[in-house]
Symmetry: C2
């Protein structure tokens, strides 16, 4: 009897000992260890990249990704998983593009190009015209109609190499790609060729979205990208002779909108179920690679956040949703739809985090929030230090969470190391082999840690 009592006491003591509230340090350690030693993110991304592949909105790949991620989320034992319908644009590349440079009549060399997303095609015979190189819209304006009309405008402003944050360098260049055609069309250009948004000198053209604004269909001119190496070569050729011509032929087409989906999973909150916290990435990708970094990584990291929370036995106070947004690349329809529906339903989104900057080693986050919440984040800096997470800056959380912004809530974007990102961005080498398993897993754990802390302590 005495022994039995002792045994009971021991059992009770062990339960009490085991159920002591973990410190935040301990919880973070559990999250990181779990991600690095028994994570699912890398396996999921392997499937998404190597079994499904590219996932441009409206494509078969995009629809297969919707089904796959929904099925995987359904296996996590969340409170609910559903698809949110959204109409998305459907642009197709068509036959592989073809282009050559003609230095003197009859002397040609082929060059690798890709149509920009949203571009009209050339005529079936392609176009051939003299090239005129510019570096910005001011140079374009200075040349004017007289020197532009009937020509192909070659935008060749490189990304600025001395900026440490490569996203800033991208921001300083991308208007050539996005608005290049509509600006050149003003002066009668017949086509546009853009230097790829890539800091590295290599041979791969990078696609990406472009706009015609409200330009009448008849005035829309085709727009393509060439690699950084080819841009350098073309520029040298043009210094030697102004008569260099480019021929190119594209077969891309904008079809009617089609129905697609955001994929959503939720762990309903235990205390404040009507306060929503979102973590997400975008399911669609460009069509040249398999979209492993942009944004397969963000998708699987976001899914992993909910899995890691459950795995760590965390029962969130607030409702945590993973949202896999459709159509970030060429429309942002999924993000807008999610925000519209949330508004209609009066859902209070207190926090939203996205990962859409590649699957590289995480360095920290960027936040759109007020000072009080930002200071709260800074108070957690020491918790993140063992994981080398040190970067906490304001502004620039991300495109997909953007439509959820209110005066009060907190938006955040994971900020991984950015040095290699634009080597792969929107190009045929955005593929699974460029993903490092540990870097991907560290990102997922870092996101989970932030979600855990914001759920536990709430926003200001």
């Amino acid at each position: 009897m005495k022994n039995l009592t002792l045994l009971c006491l021991l059992i009770i003591a062990s339960i009490v000992f085991k159920s002591h509230a973990q410190t935040d340090d301990e919880v973070l350690k559990t999250i990181y260890t779990s991600s690095l030693t028994e994570g699912e993110s890398y396996n999921w991304l392997n499937y998404l990249s190597n079994q499904i592949g590219s996932r441009l909105s409206g494509s078969l790949g995009a629809e297969r990704a919707v089904q796959y991620t929904k099925e995987e989320l359904e296996q996590l034992g969340l409170s609910k998983v559903w698809l949110q319908p959204v109409m998305v644009p459907k642009w197709i590349r068509g036959a592989k593009e073809y282009a050559y440079i003609e230095t003197v009549p009859g002397k040609t060399s082929t060059v690798n190009i890709c149509a920009l997303g949203g571009s009209v095609a050339t005529s079936p015979l392609g176009i051939k015209a003299q090239l005129v190189e510019v570096h910005n819209f001011e140079e374009l304006e200075a040349l004017g109609k007289e020197q532009i009309e009937g020509k192909i405008v070659f935008y060749n402003r490189p990304m600025q190499a001395d900026l440490i944050n490569t996203f800033q360098a991208y921001g300083g260049c991308v208007n050539q790609r996005y608005k290049g055609a509509v600006e050149a069309a003003k002066y009668g250009a017949v086509g546009v060729v853009v230097r790829s948004m890539n800091l590295r000198l290599d041979d791969l053209p990078h696609t990406g979205s472009m706009t015609y604004d409200d330009l009448p269909v008849a005035q829309r001119i085709p727009s393509v990208a060439i690699s950084t190496n080819d841009a350098e070569t073309l520029s040298t050729m043009l210094k030697l002779s102004k008569d260099v011509k480019l021929y190119f032929k594209t077969s891309c087409k904008q079809l009617n909108d089609v129905q697609s989906y955001n994929v959503i999973g939720e762990i309903t909150g235990s205390e404040f179920p009507n306060e929503y916290m979102v973590v997400g990435g975008h399911l669609d990708s460009w069509d040249l690679g398999d979209g492993s970094h942009d944004d397969g990584a963000g998708v699987v990291q976001s899914m992993e956040v909910l899995r890691l929370l459950k795995k760590a036995g965390i029962k969130p106070k607030r409702s945590i949703r993973v949202v896999l947004f459709m159509n970030e690349e060429n429309g942002l329809r999924g993000a807008n739809k999610y925000a519209d529906v949330a508004k209609q339903k009066g859902e209070n989104h207190v926090f939203a985090l996205e990962s859409d900057s590649g699957g590289f080693t995480p360095r920290g986050f960027r936040f759109d929030c007020d000072e009080a919440n930002f200071n709260k984040v800074l108070s957690w800096k020491e918790l993140f230090k063992p994981y080398l997470i040190h970067y906490f800056e304001k502004e620039g959380s991300g495109a997909d969470v953007g439509p959820l912004k209110t005066d009060k809530n907190v938006l955040a974007g994971l900020h991984p190391d950015s040095q290699r990102y634009f080597d792969h961005h929107h190009a045929s080498n955005d593929t699974f082999d460029a993903i490092n398993k540990r870097e991907l897993e560290l990102g997922a754990a870092t996101m989970t840690a932030l979600v855990y802390l914001f759920d536990k302590y709430g926003i200001k």
Copy 2:
């Protein structure tokens, strides 16, 4: 005349304005911009990796690297450049290794192995024996002579995946490789096969140094590595049957020592020429890849430090030396020689920095120094912040600068992001394509910035 006076005044004013002392912020900005926009490190490494290739001590590649780096340093306009003779061991791999696993007599499958550096060869016919798997020397001891004698010991302790610093995970495993043979020989093992020191599951065996301590030659047993995937497979096979045998044949050989060199360049100090500051990496590499990360990167970054200082117009107060050490991998002879000569000459080495952790994005430094100097470093933290350099920790500066340690001086090691390092370390994929130009250049700039600051402010 009046105009002339005005002109003179304007010229003087412009000189004065231009020659205002730059702030440290400005100097660092100049250094980083120069490295990222007109750096030489990537070009040098391209030559070292793709024109010369692997550089094991005593090999033709090592000697060509000595000549090449000397010639390149001579073009930088340094105060002096010289070779410091040092005798180095010469181990050669010989014919490609061959191995197979035999599950039952006659049923074999080949497996990719590599001899460990310093290992003796098998007999010309190779060896075949039953395998016994252990994870550490305690398990080995517990099995004892009875179960080890006549067998091949298979060391299969994986690197610990939940450690954020992968060098720490390496440190926790590497005794299997370095001391595995000498420990197994105690119990009569006939050979050793070691799981590669790699966090990733892949198909590449990783070499690296091993020792026999003072074991008589007749008792030395051959030692090889297999890939992480093959280690997993072998372990599974052994769970299914204890009768699994391994056959392997190696032809490696330890030859007589040969003469080689450390390559040294110096900018003699303008105020304290007898105070020396060293920056260096090691010229030798293992023979399987081309040694781009280990340690071609450190070599070219160290050379770049002196070039960037000159380029920025900095005239150091102290004598700054780049030292390209020979034989870090299998002997440390170059580092010991450099320190011995320095001691003989009574040279006061106040500071030494090495880069030998790969050419990945720099995160900071590790220091061996007293508190006063460490606090001085911490006072520079804000200067490094724009470059995302945030990691300043004590201990672990590096092997090549180690012999220079005194009570007073400061040793430092560049600490790049470590997640991918062991994917390539000592394996056939430590090649130039695994180097990102910007990451390499950021490392060189970060080293230059630290050297600049320690030269300007001195050590405590």
